[in-house]
């Protein structure tokens, strides 16, 4: 079994590599994209830019996880009293999910600083991250909501029968169970955000991709993009593997519990 899969992998990769290397344009491609000299030259700038990507990711993710939870909780409140709050949450999610992320970044990042309102930040970085938070909060709220709905109705009823208010029931009974159910989905949205932070480069924010672009504009060499790609992969692949591993663990545990 292992022998066959190893063999087939070696053959497959071998053929692919041979096809690329033997093509007529390969020497030019290698110089343009995989030049060791250019790599050395561009690496420090791309790396420091990528560090900004990581910082944006961490700040945005923390804000998203908190804001999305509030939106999801608001949406799952019941009863006529909470109608306005519920409606607000629905409108927010629908509206934001309908706007392309890139458009949101452009509109907020260029639009708001241009208005020049006193007291409002003018930094492109600030508005870029804000756009990411606004957009991802809508998607993440839907993940949380699916989690809250996956908790059996009898749990809500039990909590309420003990005299807990709706907010207390959510806080102490429904949300803790909901979060457990959706950790794999949340992790997978982490991977997606971790890459999408690079989109703020359109605002001129000097993160990893922007640094590679600047280098490319100066030298007409694309190796910087490859450097940035490697850095993004170095972070996203471990997270993706961890997500898979964790998801399987949760599934296994649930099966063990139900048997």
């Amino acid at each position: 079994m292992v022998l066959i899969s190893t063999l087939s992998t070696v053959v497959f990769v071998g053929v692919a590599v041979w096809a690329v290397l033997s093509s007529e344009t390969w020497p030019r491609v290698r110089e343009q994209f995989f030049s060791a000299r250019h790599f050395q030259e561009v690496w420090p700038a791309v790396l420091s830019g990528f560090w900004l990507d990581v910082q944006m990711f961490v700040v945005a993710e923390v804000l998203i996880l908190a804001a999305a939870l509030i939106v999801a909780a608001a949406r799952s409140l019941r009863g006529p009293v909470f109608f306005p709050i519920r409606t607000l949450a629905v409108v927010y999610v629908d509206l934001v999910r309908g706007i392309p992320l890139l458009l949101m970044i452009l509109v907020l990042g260029f639009g708001i600083p241009a208005l020049d309102i006193p007291g409002v930040p003018r930094s492109a970085l600030f508005w870029g991250v804000t756009a990411l938070v606004i957009s991802y909060t809508a998607y993440t709220a839907e993940i949380y909501r699916a989690g809250i709905e996956s908790v059996h109705e009898s749990q809500r009823m039990s909590a309420q029968s003990l005299g807990l208010t709706q907010v207390q029931s959510l806080r102490h009974v429904l949300v803790p169970q909901a979060v457990r159910n959706v950790v794999p989905a949340l992790l997978s949205s982490f991977v997606s955000l971790q890459k999408d932070v690079a989109l703020v480069f359109v605002l001129g924010v000097r993160e990893g991709v922007r640094e590679a672009q600047i280098y490319n504009a100066r030298t007409f060499n694309y190796t910087g993009y490859i450097a940035a790609t490697l850095l993004f992969l170095a972070v996203s692949i471990p997270v993706a593997r961890f997500t898979d591993w964790y998801g399987q663990r949760v599934r296994r545990r649930r099966q063990a519990m139900s048997s």
Partner: protein, 251 residues
Amino acid sequence: MTEPHSRLRIVGLSKTFGDLPVLADVNLELRAHEVVCLIGASGSGKSTLLKAVNLLVPIDQGEIFLDYLAITSPEVDANQVRSRMGIVFQSFNLFPHLTILDNITLAPRKVLKLDRAAAEGRAVELLGRFDLLDKVKDYPDRLSGGQQQRVAIIRSLAMQPELMLLDEVTSALDPVLVGEVLECIRELKGQGMTMLIATHEMGFARNTADRVAFLHGGTVWEQGKPQRVLGEPERPETQDFLGRIIQAGRL
């Protein structure tokens, strides 16, 4: 002698789901310390009646009084009312992410605003009384069904309710585990707890209830002393229901 204190009074209670009538003009009264068993076929409205009393389902018509307070009037705070009575369901519904201790102390701490030490003291005392003290740090999935159901009862008791509502609490249990839960309920009766109990356990109803009420078509068809209702039922529907129970070997 003064008239005994009326703990729960249900007057003209009606409820439909869509156009399906579930409860139709239910009238029932429980005096303090009284134990009333609700019997009747599945779908006769027992479960809905209990949930209506706990304000978990809205009602269409009628009134419910808890200690002379009309709890069905709109200005009453439902959460406050619910905290004064305990309800236990067929399917236990313990909170799986909390330990037994936290399951029991959650509502006393958050609703009654007891501090942790007081809430835990009360929980430990109850667990000790019902012989579950060794489970205090366990999670619900480590317990048997009977133990989980007893914890669910303790969780309600920790709120020091004036009234307990039990909704077929032994129906989801292995037959060998039914006894320990029924024993637990008898002990509550011994302590003077007022209880309204929906049950299929006719033997239990006969020797524990002060009164049995037979629900049929969403209304109280016949009620009285258990020996009388279960032994010499007056109405043909009651006779028919009990006849089928006997056939099934449950009486």
